[in-house]
Amino acid sequence: MFDLSGKTALVTGASGGIGGAIARALHRQGATVTLSGTRAEALEQLKASLGERAHVVAAKMDDAADIDRLAKEAEAAMGKLDILVNNAGITRDNISMRMKDEEWEKVLQVNLTGTFRLTRAVMRGMMKRRFGRVVSITSIVGVTGNPGQANYAAAKAGLIGMSKSLAQELASRGITVNCVAPGFIATPMTDGLTDDQKKGILARVPADRLGTPDEIAAGVVYLASEEAAYVTGQTLHINGGMAMI
């Protein structure tokens, strides 16, 4: 089950905790992967640890020309692109009263607009080959909201609406478009939280622990597989029961 031999995947934000786990999991299932992100050194390290079937194409998701270049170079490096994992994302948290236009715009631009542009750029090849898997990493806060994250929550909710629309446009071409929505996951981002903050979070998580990046990656592997061909326009929530939607 979930064998990805012969498939090719592009993972954005692959230098991060969740993105790296997703890239490793897809690779472990047999896929050739292209790792993208802004930190070239971290990407090269990940590539080296994967060995064969791995490429690096660094790119900035707030730069339209760079996104087109990323799509082209990834397809050129791997010969085709079957699986796109839109994982790149940033936060610029602030309560709304204090949120600056730049903080709002930057988050929307990278997390939502950049994701749309990249997905649009790779659709053509997927349509031709009558096969494609697009998995976007959204967030529980895109559905529930979160104080201090109006920009991030709006962008993540936007990804869900975008994916449902693309799913309807592309379903007849063998292309599925889905989202994975992590809850609180143990990554360098959450390592920075204080014990009190962690306690506050865990009080809301029935599983009584943070999730792991591998648990998110497993959801992505499923949605990227041949077996998930009949699943499209969906959001898979992986959050230890924190929100049941």
């Binding site: 349509m127 446009e169 592309l170 007849s172």
Partner: protein
């Protein structure tokens, strides 16, 4: 030149799964040949590949009939 028309018609027949007799020059892809909006995008992609040309989006939008496609390709194709 008629060769271009034949090649265009062949692509339309293959792509939309219609009878060659239906593919007249005044036939509209969507209204007469049962194409949906994605089919029209794919037809344009197939024409680009067959004739090694680029069809910009604004030009693609104007290609609504078989004749439109033949006309555009005749005035833009190298081969």
């Amino acid at each position: 030149m008629s060769d271009i028309a034949e090649r265009v018609k062949k692509i339309v027949v293959e792509h939309l799964g219609v009878e060659a007799a239906q593919v007249k020059e005044d036939a509209k892809f969507i209204d007469d040949l049962g194409a949906d909006s994605l089919d029209t995008v794919e037809l344009v992609m197939a024409f680009e590949e067959e004739f090694a040309i680029e069809i910009p989006d604004d030009a693609a939008e104007k290609i609504q009939t078989v004749g439109d496609a033949i006309g555009f390709i005749k005035s833009n194709a190298k081969s």
